[in-house]
Amino acid sequence: MAERLTRKQMADKYPNQWLGIRNIVYNGREIETAEVIYTQRTASELGLLSLKGEDVQPLFTTPDMVFQLGAAGGMNRGTEV
């Protein structure tokens, strides 16, 4: 069953992953709330569903938490010193 969450709740509950959302309520251009209908899916799976016309939009919850190093990619969680 879909749960309606705010943008912040999505980021807090499902950090660093792609969600499938629908019935989005915008505040200007910003997502205020949306129904989360898919979790634990890849961007590709969600993109294919969206492309095929299913009422779902892929969303990466925390776009500023992932750090790429050029083509190699990867996620930097940092090291305590």
Binding site: I31, T42, A43, G47, L48, P58, L59, Q68, G73
Partner: protein, 152 residues
């Protein structure tokens, strides 16, 4: 000619909205990149009409080397058309965008990332709507050739 595009408002980095491709489609704008990159599955890329033209090509980046395939994809961005644009395909689910748009895609334009209004603005002065992006490695070193093409 000036064209304005929406950036993702909830991101600190420039993520371009491409909802006309499919709802939720996005591109990370990388002004340090030479090659456009598709970062998700080949199945989805091919569903967008892309055709593979070269497999297992070695690309080097700041973080190391990676193998990818080169596809051709006709892409439209506003009134700019990239016919059969060469694009590297290298899957990484963690990148917060489906595409990476490279600096070379905007060669000979004035492009602005307006982080206050969250807009990406492209100004072209050559009145050419077609732009060719070709990844070429005939001499063993990967190059990108980018040129404007007359629409007449």
């Amino acid at each position: 000619m000036e064209q304005r595009f929406d950036l993702e408002v909830s991101a600190d980095r420039p993520i371009l909205r491409l909802d006309y491709i499919f709802p939720g489609c996005t591109a990370l704008i990388d002004t340090g990149a030479l090659f456009p990159v598709w970062t998700k599955s080949r199945e989805l890329l091919e569903a967008l009409g892309a055709k593979v033209c070269k497999r297992n090509v070695l690309f080097s980046g700041f973080g190391g080397n990676v193998y990818g395939d080169i596809y051709t994809l006709t892409l439209q961005l506003g009134s700019l058309i990239y016919p059969e644009m060469h694009i590297m395909s290298c899957e990484n689910n963690d990148i917060p965008g489906y595409f990476i748009f490279s600096a070379t895609m905007f060669k000979n334009t004035v492009y602005t990332i307006n982080d206050i209004e969250k807009k990406f603005i492209i100004v072209t002065q050559d009145h050419q709507i077609c732009r060719n992006i070709i990844i070429n490695g005939e001499d063993g070193i990967m190059h990108v050739l980018c040129e404007t093409v007359s629409s007449e």
